[in-house]
Amino acid sequence: MTGRSLIASRALTLGLGLLFGLVVITIYMPIAVMAVFSFNSGRYQTLPFRQPTLDWYAQLARDQSFLDGLINSLIIALGAAILATTIGFLAAYAFQKARLPGKPVFLALILAPLVVPLMLIGIGMRLQLTAMGLQPSLWFVLFGQTVYVLPLAVLNLRARLAHVPSNLEEAATSLGASRTRAIVEIVAPACAPTLIATVLLTFTFAFDEFVIAYFLTNFQLTLPIKIWTTLVTGFDPKINAVGTMVFLFSLTLGVIAQWVLLLKQPSVGS
């Protein structure tokens, strides 16, 4: 840790650590409150705590519209994650390994959805569907969310591919393997942890995404839409239960993905 003690005194570290602690507490505190309320028998969201109960979770398990939303969300998010990771991998591979005329333009196009509000993706697609005389449907949610998570996939995978030396594939192709086979058998396995992390990350983002889905459906539900409509049409304590579960689910996936991405992956073949 050279340079560390040069500019950061003990007092500074302590002060900054205090601020860090405050921010972390502020970030987690409301989630903890929600989790506590999800076990509270009281119908109103006020303290003091009444009786511990699992009732809201039980009610949730019996609520068909939450279950329908959950199933739709799982299918769509999985579809978007796999689609985005697959085509994102192909694009990242070409961007990284090939000489491509107009590369900055195409990269900018693919990354652009990352730097606009989700609102614009949703409203744009909705107006387009209407102009084409198409009905909103879960299929469009799938494509909308794929466009939204694709930049994340491309960025993650491009960063990883930069560390996969080309000479491995060169060796494979010069020994007679086709380019496709070299990609499938050499490059993809070398990126396997990043590919898994990317699927998890894009899945999480698509699973929790609300605005695009809200614009692109009329009556069909994804879980975030069901949660949203329940939230704005009068309070239902089941929300605490579903919120706690969704939070823990996304947190687990996100932490695993982040962990894999942060770990220094061994440089293959060097």
């Binding site: 340079g3 860090f20 502020t26 694009a91 409203i123 609300f210 809200y214």
Partner: protein, 278 residues
């Protein structure tokens, strides 16, 4: 020639390009076209109407104000936090702290915004605790104000800005810092003349993304800011889902697009957007 060995790279890029063109670029183009349709043919009538109608122009103004405040607050928090993580702790702690701070970043924005209702509402946890300390009922009056929206968005922005800023700080060559210290620079001079200029780009990317996400956000202004003084995103959604005045919705969307483009301009001009993201 190792780099040109992929014989037809287009095949690999095509699916991603086509998908983004079909479901992103085309809809944006259609949006612009739609915004130009008025009862008296093609023209800028919708845009004039937008800025003449107080409730739409006000909503845009509120969106901008909200986004600026959230961005400023999150930058003020992100600098010390990213500095702590990058310079004041050992490498092992670095990633533990980062993981603790950023883990909720991957979870549902909507649910996190909602959970703040439980804390901030007039009969919520905060009021209950304060009443206990105060010994009498305390009326907070925070929920459904712009302050609550700023707060909710700033927490999110702090995570995002810390992430990009940390990336820039950790990439700074420590020998530069050592050199400046051994040449007699004090901590303030090191920060001002070495660290800040080298990390500015990463900060700018985080602050820009924060601003863009906040200016177009719908969930936080609705759940924490309430519906009485709507931001642009709220009016856009109620227009599409409620009144079906699509040219008007398209106009608002194009205006929002314009705001985003103007915000991105510094980064585009610097040619650094791509580098900053990657």
């Amino acid at each position: 020639m190792p780099r040109s060995s992929l014989r037809n790279p287009w095949v690999a890029v095509l699916p991603a390009v086509l998908l983004t063109a079909a479901f992103f670029l085309l809809p944006l183009a259609n949006m612009v076209r739609l915004s130009l349709i008025t009862p008296d043919g093609m023209g800028l009538g919708n845009y004039l109407a937008f800025f003449e109608q107080a409730h739409q122009a006000d909503a845009l103004w509120r969106s901008l104000k909200l986004a600026v405040m959230a961005t400023v607050v999150s930058s003020l928090l992100a600098w010390p936090i990213a500095f702590l993580v990058a310079f004041c702790v050992s490498e092992r702690w670095r990633y533990v702290l980062l993981l603790i701070l950023l883990a909720p970043f991957w979870t549902s924005f909507t649910i996190r915004a909602f959970s703040w209702q439980l804390v901030l509402s007039d009969n919520g946890v905060l009021a209950w605790i304060l009443s206990g300390i105060w010994g009498a009922p305390v009326s907070l009056g925070i929920l459904y104000t712009m302050a609550a929206s700023v707060f909710g968005l700033a927490l999110f922005g702090t995570m995002l800005t810390t992430l990009t800023l940390f990336g820039a700080l950790v990439a700074i060559d420590r020998r530069l810092i050592e050199a400046s210290v051994s040449l007699g620079a004090g901590p303030q001079a090191v920060f001002r003349d070495v660290i800040f200029p080298l990390a500015r780009q990463g900060w700018l990317v985080g602050a820009t993304l924060t601003f863009i996400i906040c200016v177009g956000d719908y969930a936080v202004p609705t759940l924490l800011g309430g519906g009485l003084k709507p931001v642009l995103a709220q009016i856009m959604l109620s227009t599409v889902k409620g009144t079906y005045d699509l040219p008007s919705a398209a106009t608002m969307a194009v205006v929002l697009c314009g705001v985003v483009l103007i915000t991105l301009l510094p980064l585009i001009l610097l040619g650094r957007l791509r580098r900053g993201l990657a």
